[in-house]
Symmetry: C2
């Protein structure tokens, strides 16, 4: 799976991903005014996402869809989530479901079925929320991650495990130092690199990637060295404060090895001073093109 | 919220919770045979759960519903999840949604809205998947947990944060020792105890609980001392190998402080040798009563 992501990044010349994390609050006022139920809200979000995807699919290689923004609108919201994944897939985009799932082995297997695999009902197979990649949390250790890794292997999919997150308090536990001098995030990094080992693609990266925040460049630089075969999903650019220069350390010498996410910076671009007056889709496309240029320039100038 | 759970435990004289983690595979053969779509499966699961809840609501104080078992059946599965929470609530049961959600602050706030709070659409407020408690994962540190704690405060709800999980590999990271001699699980325990401090109820416990596995009695005993105001949700009894004797260390001197989960042991009781021949509901009720007796006896004899 990681090879397909890398090839798509090469074709679009764009190591960035648009985060389709559509809160109802982000919609234009005139759309919001017409909504009075969860079903209304979910339908409006789906339409908004359709415009985004139509405008972005030639610019970005992938979308990241944060499920929390859909869960809060209930079953209707999950319908919008399902439709958003399908629309993105139909346009040839790589779909990353940002779900950060985690549990004991038997339950992790259910989550793996939901996003990366399938379930059998009678003689038919169904995939609930078909995704190319999902994010996972490794706090439970190996037997909580193995069902996801197995699903990657069986179905040619990928995961990104949380290693060093982009939020301000990520250091509270992740930067703590163990007796042997290794931090928690470094320990998780070693496990992730190891879990991916049997799933290496032709570019040297594996289907088991890592989430590494753009807001912590020192740790990201360290992780790039510790995890030579692990592809990074990099949140924290833009709205969270990470700059293109900060995140160049996430890439390898060939300019590969990472994909950078921006959510609000792209999907809410139509509300910003810079793109004001443009439609939702046009503003998102312009913001995504500006992001691509920003990151590629930083990579060239490092 | 924690006071309501404790009072319900006292009324039922039962510090245990039934885990309604209904895989389609657990249903009777004659039910499964009639299903050929996700909608069929979800409807059959809902009916199965209705029978369970009807049989259990006078015996157990609470149900724990593991969302992974519903997510794998897609939008239809999430409808079954929503209905199951509602049925349990209508019967007066305390509802624990086992979702282990985690993310950066702004996204954690969406999850908090989904399960413990509400969203506004027009002039109306909606709660997606209304729960009394949810489980959360603290790997991201304080700002990933605060939105949940705030929702607990605002809406009188509770959370259980993963501290020491019940799975075999939980020690891989959780038992690792930091420079200051403290393990990772002890560090998380200290944070959890601290986060709960402003939300203490009349029995001395707070709305911020901890998940502590029955399968690791040594660590559980240590945690009971480190977290005097933290209520424990204890998985791992029965199918996972934890015995009633093992988990007595999770309780305080008054026999309070913990609630023990059993899922397959109760909902699949109708398939076991011990309860064979009984209906799904009768077998579940008998298994839940046996579990209550087993735990209360172990507490009396410690």
């Amino acid at each position: 799976m990681i090879d397909r992501l890398i090839e798509k990044i090469k074709v679009t010349e764009n190591p960035s991903v648009a985060g389709i994390d559509t809160s109802f609050e982000y919609l234009p006022e005139e759309v919001k005014e017409k909504c009075s139920s969860l079903a209304d809200a979910a339908a409006a979000i789906t339409d908004f996402n359709a415009e985004l995807i139509e405008s972005l699919y030639k610019i970005v290689p992938a979308v990241k869809v944060q499920v929390a923004y859909y869960e809060m609108y209930g079953v209707a919201g999950m319908t919008a989530f399902e439709k958003t994944l399908k629309m993105a897939k139909e346009k040839g985009l790589i779909v990353i479901s940002d779900v950060k799932r985690n549990d004991i082995g038997s339950t992790a297997a259910c989550y793996a079925n939901a996003y990366l695999g399938s379930v059998n009902i009678g003689k038919k197979r169904f995939t609930a929320f078909e995704s190319d990649f999902i994010t996972v949390n490794a706090y439970l250790g190996e037997d909580g991650i193995k069902p996801f890794v197995n699903a990657c292997k069986e179905n040619d999919r990928g995961i990104f495990a949380l290693v060093k997150t982009s939020n301000p308090s990520s250091g509270q536990l992740q930067d703590r130092v163990f007796e042997n001098g290794e931090t928690l995030y470094e320990s998780v990094a070693a496990l992730v690199e190891n879990w991916g080992e049997p799933l290496k693609g032709k570019y040297g990266y594996t289907d088991v990637g890592a989430v590494v925040g753009a807001t912590h460049p020192k740790q990201a630089e360290r992780l790039r060295k510790l995890m030579p075969h692990t592809f990074f999903l990099v949140p924290g650019y833009g709205a969270q404060g990470g700059t293109a220069k900060d995140l160049t350390v996430c890439f390898d010498g060939k300019g590969l090895g990472a994909i950078v996410n921006s959510s609000r910076g792209i999907i809410c671009a139509y509300k910003s001073d810079k793109y004001r007056g443009m439609s939702v889709g046009k503003a998102a496309a312009a913001a995504a093109e500006d992001m691509r240029e920003d990151i590629n320039k930083a990579l060239k100038n490092r």
